[in-house]
Subunit: 353 residues, 2 copies
Amino acid sequence: MDNRNSKTEQKRRVTLEDVARDAGLSRSTVSLVLRGSSAPSQRAVNAVFGSIQRLGYVYNRTAANLRTQTTHTIGLIIPNIENRFFAEFTVSAELELDRAEQTVILAHTSESVARQQKAIAMMLEHNVDGILICPAPNTRRVNVQPLIQSAKPVVCVSRRMPGGPWRYVAQDNVTGSRMAVEHLVQLGHKRIAFVGVYPNTSAYHERLSGFREGMVRAGIAVDERIVFPGENSFEGGFRTAPRLCALADRPTAVCCFNDMTALGFMKGLESCGLLPGVDIAVVGFDDILEAAVWQPSLSTVRSRASVVGCEAARTLMRAIAEEATPDEEILVAVDLVVRRSSGSSPVSAAEQS
Amino acid sequence: MDNRNSKTEQKRRVTLEDVARDAGLSRSTVSLVLRGSSAPSQRAVNAVFGSIQRLGYVYNRTAANLRTQTTHTIGLIIPNIENRFFAEFTVSAELELDRAEQTVILAHTSESVARQQKAIAMMLEHNVDGILICPAPNTRRVNVQPLIQSAKPVVCVSRRMPGGPWRYVAQDNVTGSRMAVEHLVQLGHKRIAFVGVYPNTSAYHERLSGFREGMVRAGIAVDERIVFPGENSFEGGFRTAPRLCALADRPTAVCCFNDMTALGFMKGLESCGLLPGVDIAVVGFDDILEAAVWQPSLSTVRSRASVVGCEAARTLMRAIAEEATPDEEILVAVDLVVRRSSGSSPVSAAEQS
DNA sequence: CTCCCTGCTTAGATCGATCTAATTAATCGA
DNA sequence: TCGATTAATTAGATCGATCTAAGCAGGGAG
């Protein structure tokens, strides 16, 4: 007669108490069963699972969170998930965290420090057990002050962050860039440009310093006029190409900050009437999916985002278990993938033109 | 003398109680201030914020969650975030949810029903306020039974799900495919193939039925031999091309399930010695970033993932506020982007070969 | 002076788990 | 049969907010 199943009348959630009553046991015993303790008798275990099935009980983690002060929840702060590196990173980190029975809270900052601050505050309110963060450019110490104060386990990914020491997991940018230079030098190139400058992230500084290091080792002076500013994007690379082509003493080879920049740069070269891989050797960084299938295919430094994601997740789990020092660093090895875009030697290129 | 700041001795969290004591008020009043109630006096408000600042208080949402039975948390279940559509969707949904002061819990299923089931269970345990889900292929009613029982607000994105009625937000697949066909028909094509069959998702069925609809309207019979099975991916498209090229009565145009398939297909055409956009017209679906910059640039149906993300988030918020019916549907309009890959008419292509 | 507002404040119950400390039941050796 | 030991169970406090229902001033009307 009374319509208790109306829209506003929300039916009470089934609780441990209900299960206990149904199973003829106490709340405590049921709780022990749920957590897989060896204490309860087989009879009790059976009774509990029977009741859970019968009543449709759903474990209420929010209640446990309050009592245990641990939420089995990890904050993941990503600056730009449309960047394939971070997409791949996210997938593998999520997978690894899921294996460790952790839930992922996601925040996307779009490279904005303000959104990042909000994300950090929100995650601390949710009392996450730890945080994986790839900091936005221009992140200052003051922007992460709440993180520091919280003393929660944190792992920085792919970019360093002020206010540390922080745990740090990233691809080996310095070695990678150096390998790219060494590859070009081996092909006989001497005049090598660097394209794609996005200051204020450590990845940029590291890749550029790896570039310099390679040049120095090869005994070549770095000509600062052919270290090209510009955004790290397809557009950025595209717009840089004509400026490079216009130079009197045109470089014979180019290291790009990343693959998207390199692809745009190659496209720009073509619209200047130059053939990448023939007239100018081009090397990228990341090895995104498109690198292999582009025309010409792109020689690049492969940074394995999924390995970075997995290692970052594991490092965080160890940090939570207090098995990792606060300044631990993992550099994931990179390797050079030689394809067509770096194919030509400068000599053959000169012959051709 | 006593080293209370040791590693194991974790300092007690600052609570509302502490703030109340410091401000000389009761817990209740402080709580009212925090929630922006108009009841407390200005004096009280100032005192509370002063104490919060001084003590470094961080709001504990897990405690509030337990009492209010609302977590301000949304579950986001994504099958494949490396797919650009979902990456873009995720960014805009997250942004919109953040605006509504909601926190996003992310789960990535990698198109696996098993992982999806685990994700749903986990989210229900965390007592999310609502769920955005793009179901994995082959999702059956039994796989989402817990979702049904929970009676929580759910919005399906981009793919339909059994066990409904469910709210549904997606790009208009049927119209989009039909527009692609109409475009090709207008160019004079009569023999049009469909490439990229990934059954068991509604998006596939809808795009294929839009294709059929377009053909029927143009008075062209669909030749089932040139509806090509194969995975929806670069690889899938690539492998389909030679099979299509080998046909005696080769199609003059191709509709691809999505852009990645189309790009792979075009690459495959080239390795068969055919020029996409010259020998065969190709149209994709999605308008991913690469479509515009590919060689040749890809004609495609633009489905605005960010609009879908935004609409899905809003629909869910309305559902939570009980302002949306359980079977609400939003189809986001698509539009045709004509580029070079569909450039040629079948006549000029015939002349050329 | 009493009664009733209104504006501000608060004590104490509550959400649903976990944890501590203790109790009860079962087993065993002497 | 008894005390000791182990196995199984449980009552009640606890986590940190919110919410309910009520209390306490101070002012204005009757």
